[in-house]
Symmetry: C2
Subunit: 222 residues, 2 copies
DNA sequence: CCAGTCGCTAACCTACCGGTCAATGAGCAC
DNA sequence: GTGCTCATTGACCGGTAGGTTAGCGACTGG
């Protein structure tokens, strides 16, 4: 079996290093081409040309085109994670919401290309191998779960209306964010103003009437 | 020049009728295959097989594969229009909003496949020939314009808060709808419950505090 | 009845696709 | 040096893609 199934933690020799380099170069080229043109529009010869290696080498590193594509998707998904756990306890729920939402926006801004690619691929169906699709879905659910937590805590502290279930409220907010997202993805050179507007609107929406019966008026954060 | 550039309003002969029939059959097959598998995954031979004609006939009707694809997109867009003008005057703004939103949902429900296809294609870029993209955008803008009108009238009648500009409110609501839409598109066998929930939420959101200073409490529609 | 067009097809063409393979150079162990 | 494995390549293969062409039967106009 020629291709190394798993890389050793530290490179043992120059050859292995070079091997990893070429593999990375191929992956890099694949990322660019697949994201720009999609799976079927991209040929292995193009990837080879872009990576400046022979086509055969690609098939030495990756058994099939699908395997390369899978590796590309995996690498694209690497930055998809949530780093929200820290320093959140000291913020009130309103600030927590703002922070969570902004982390969403920041992520979108930084990964617009791959998000667009991945979303298109998911919509198109079939070419995303379940495993990755569920991975994305899990991430999505985790995000919504964070938001549910915020809403629940805000309701407990009577910071916002208790009329709607936290799950429904969070689901709605995430949907609204997604909607703004696709609006953003379609304005190619676009500003993030629309996104920012959605953020403040969601904030106002969630914290619109804090105390249904209590007489104490809440101090609004400017 | 073999292929008829434009069809005559009424078929002059049996031959022309048959020609239109076969053309329609090809288009129909193309719609199914392109929508199910995308542009590059679909071969002309497949279309020919599905339409039960020879491949050459397709190239007789449509000069290239791109031209067939374009015709398919055009036909897919045919049901994309807004029939909202009628009988709207007699409804109050709340009911108007509900009706407008429901027409959106209904449309999505009926055209889920083609919406998914078109959205994926737009996200993927490149394969949608500007002309059609702007057509869709115009439709989108028209819809938002309708919503802006509703919000503005509701504000004039003091039915809802005047804190936000109608454009911003409408934009937000359309975004929220779009977000719910993609949520719906991803749940394959999915229910429309999530969509319906978003609808009521948007309604509650827009008409949350009708009279900022007036003492008269509004009667809520159950 | 005959010429011409229309609708249509089988067979064909070229280019390129994903994928294979034999060969080869470079580093490493002995 | 002599092997040995690893990384890499150019040449090649069968299959299929989009597209072309020569021609055939069925109508149509004169």
């Amino acid at each position: 079996m020629h291709p190394p199934e798993y890389m050793t933690p530290e490179p043992r020799s120059i050859s292995l290093e070079k091997s990893q380099d070429s593999r990375d170069g191929i992956l890099k080229a694949g990322i660019g081409l697949f994201a720009r043109r999609g799976f079927h529009e991209t040929s292995m010869s193009e990837v080879a040309r872009e990576a400046k290696v022979s086509k055969a080498l690609i098939f030495w590193h990756f058994k099939t085109k699908e395997e390369l594509f899978l590796a590309v998707l995996n690498r694209l998904l690497e930055p998809y994670f949530i780093d929200f756990a820290e320093e959140v306890g000291i913020l009130d729920e309103r600030a927590q919401l703002r922070k969570l939402v902004q982390s969403y926006l920041l992520f979108i801004r930084d990964n617009a290309a791959s998000v667009r690619f991945f979303l298109g691929q998911l919509l198109h169906g079939e070419k995303v191998p379940e495993e990755l699709a569920t991975q994305v879905m899990k991430l999505y659910d985790a995000y919504r779960e964070l938001m549910i937590g915020i809403v629940r805590r805000a309701q407990d502290k009577n910071l916002c209306s208790r009329d709607i279930a936290p799950e429904a409220a969070a689901g709605f907010m995430v949907s609204a964010l997604n909607g703004s997202l696709i609006g953003f993805l379609f304005t190619t050179g676009g500003t993030t103003d629309e996104l920012d507007r959605a953020v403040t609107m969601l904030e106002e929406w969630l914290f619109r009437d804090p105390a249904p019966r209590s007489a104490e008026g809440g101090k609004a954060v400017a």
